[in-house]
Amino acid sequence: MMKSVMEVLLLLMLFFTAHAKEKSYSPPEKTTQTRCRSPEKETFTCWWEPGSDGGLPTTYALYYRKENSETVYECPDYHTAGENSCFFNKNDTSIWVNYNISVVATNALGRAFSDPVDIDVVYIVEPNPPEKLTVVVMEDKGWPFLLVSWEPPHKADTRSGWITLIYELRVRLEEEEDDWEMHHAGQQKMFNIFSLRSGGEYLVEVRCKPDHGFWSEWSSTSYVKVPDYFHREKSMWILVAVFSALIFLILTWLLHMNSHSLKHCILPPVPGPKIKGFDNKLLKNGNSDEIFSALVVPNFPPASASKYEEMLVEYLEVYVPEEPELMLEESKDLLDGCLKSENSRSDSDSGRGSCNSHTLLMDKCGETKEEERQTNRESSLMETQGWKEEAINHDTSGKVKTWPSVYSPLPQYGSNPLDKQSSLETAKQHSLSTSSFLIQPGTKDALGPSYTDFCLSNKENHLHPQTLAHRALQTRSDVNISNIGCKRSPATEYVEVQRVNKEDMVLLQPVVSRCGHIEGCPNLPKGEDYSKLKGVDCDNRLLLQREGTGEDVCPCVDQETNREGGNCYTSSTVSTTQKPTACMYTAMPLQEETALSLNGYVDTATMGNLPSC
């Protein structure tokens, strides 16, 4: 009633004002954007957006209709919810009922109806934000976490199950804007947040949503500061950083040190052809003589053999008597160890030995030999020893003084066996004393080995022969046989052990033409002519390298310088044309039957390996 009066008055006023001012007025536009929300499924509110009012005061009215009736109701409350709103209280709210709502804008000139909106309260639930948000920093073994708790909006009745709310919260650091960390909390009303930054200030907010509705607004922000707990972690990181920096430095340094080799490895230098001593410029000049003279290596090939002689440290010159059979017969009754050395008359040797002063040696030996021809075997033995002495003394290298004193009494070649014995003993004693000395000269730089072949028997006086032979073995002046480039030296002569006879005598024979294979000298045992002497055993027996055949008449011991573990031939059943006498030696050529044992020379360079008895 009042309203209609108002409207009429308004119209009149408009008329007059329009007449007076000639303004244009129009009916209002219809309102738009009618939106309704229910916070707790018990009440709801609708808002609208007014349109143009047409220059005149406009009123708005909301009318609604429920689905089951045609009765049109007007909004009961325009004020509670603010401007342009309509609040429906509990009494006016029915759920599971469609509301048809429309807003009417009215002014003096007309009215406008908004578009009707159908709503059902249960579908427009948007709760209020959660309340009483509290954030507490809890300590967890030094790693703190946030305990966030809240309460549902006081209007929402979750206790009865009328509304079921699910919550969501978000966290961020104060300095990081818009970098929220979302957490879904479900239906629970508390939440733990871990992985906090030490000393950080955090902002926490929470919101809720009904099971079939809209999200609420974010609650008011809660601030919290996390205390500093970071020290342990920081120090650890500092330690780690320092350590890795150290390792990096070390690696860099290593890389720098090995940069050259690495460069070679990765980028190998391209080899350019170069000849040492070759002058490219000379080539350009065109004088070929000069050029190629540079290519000539000085002192190659070796001019004289005398240099090799100089290189020889020591050698043993052994004289081989003319009638080997005679010597053998004479020495048949050898009691002690038969010390004998053979020398091949042949000039050519395998290059191993010190071929030196062969003629000289031969002369001397010849003299002594003639003297001894009539003497017994012992005398001949002495001869041998004496010759040895001579030979030794004749060493032009002057380094060897093997047994200088040993043989001094020896030249008194009497047929006195006692003398001989004593001489032998003396020799033995001397040899014992000079044993170590004997080894030395030949070790380092001797090129030519000298070999002394021995034949031993293990008859009476085992000790003597053994030691004597032991020492005699030690007369070998050169240990490093194979280190020496074998040199063709006519002066050196070798005897080779042919075989061992029944009486355990080593049969020697002069070596023939051994200088053929220079380099192969150390490999002599491979041939048929040489066998290496391993050593002497306790029974005064020569231990030769075994070939694996035959009986252990003369057990062999590896010589220390024998690299190949040379052949060792031991056989006592060798048939030979030679007389089976002790210390037999023949000048037979090498073409002995291969079954001969102890072919080749006996290498006595096994000082260290000899068993001491």
């Binding site: 509990k90 469609n98 009328w162 079939h212």
Partner: protein
């Protein structure tokens, strides 16, 4: 997916039966499961409605039948919170079961008509209707078990016959309109079911307020 759900629900039923025989599963748990089922049901229906309304002819809104014409409108259900909270548990369950039962046939109609629906999202709608059917079925079975534990009053089901028949429309528009209408009815009823069950759940778990 649908098969899995059937198997899942069957398995659920088997387990529930077994458990019920061997040892009684607390009603609160059963109600919790039922609530979750009804929640899912309603969510599905909402999704389908939204899909449908995305490409709905504007005129359809105008001439759509009123919700009071839903075949379940004859059932007296509480219309606000006060009334709802005053209803007994058994009655609430009965109401829920009645509503659910009332939709077993119409859902078939919906499912059938979804195949011939003239809508851009027809395929997804059709699939979702299928899923809806399965969920409805499993929920109904669960509620049957629940009713067995809640007394004879819970066993009563009000029959709400569906008189729509199999035909939901001749032309495209009417088809769509009727489909939409049916779906809206279902959506509301599923919300009712969900609400009732959740109130029941909260009542059954007085000792565990966090469930509510």
């Amino acid at each position: 997916m649908a098969l899995k759900k059937t198997d899942g629900s069957k398995l659920l039923m088997a387990v529930v039966c077994l458990v019920a025989v061997c040892s009684s599963v607390p009603i609160s748990d059963l109600l919790d499961r039922a609530s979750q089922g009804s929640d899912k049901l309603h969510a599905l229906s909402t999704i389908i409605s939204q899909d449908l309304n995305s490409h709905f002819p504007p005129i359809g809104q105008e001439i759509m039948p009123r919700p009071s014409m839903c075949h379940t409108s004859s059932l007296q259900t509480p219309s606000d919170k006060q009334q709802t909270l005053q209803v007994s548990e058994s009655d609430l369950l009965s109401l829920a079961r009645s509503l659910l039962q009332a939709w077993s046939d119409p859902l078939l109609v919906l499912s059938a008509s979804a195949n011939t629906l003239h809508h851009p999202d027809q395929t997804s709608i059709s699939n979702q209707i299928q899923e809806l059917q399965l969920h409805s079925k499993s929920l109904g079975d669960g509620l049957d078990i629940l009713s067995g534990k809640m007394g004879p009053a819970a066993q009563t089901i009000s029959l709400l016959p569906f008189s729509g028949g199999n035909d939901i429309g001749q032309d495209r528009i009417s088809q769509l309109i009727n489909f939409n209408f049916l779906l809206s009815c279902f959506r509301r009823d599923s919300h009712k079911i969900d609400s009732f069950l959740k109130v029941l759940r909260c009542r059954a778990t007085k000792a565990q307020p966090q469930m509510c």
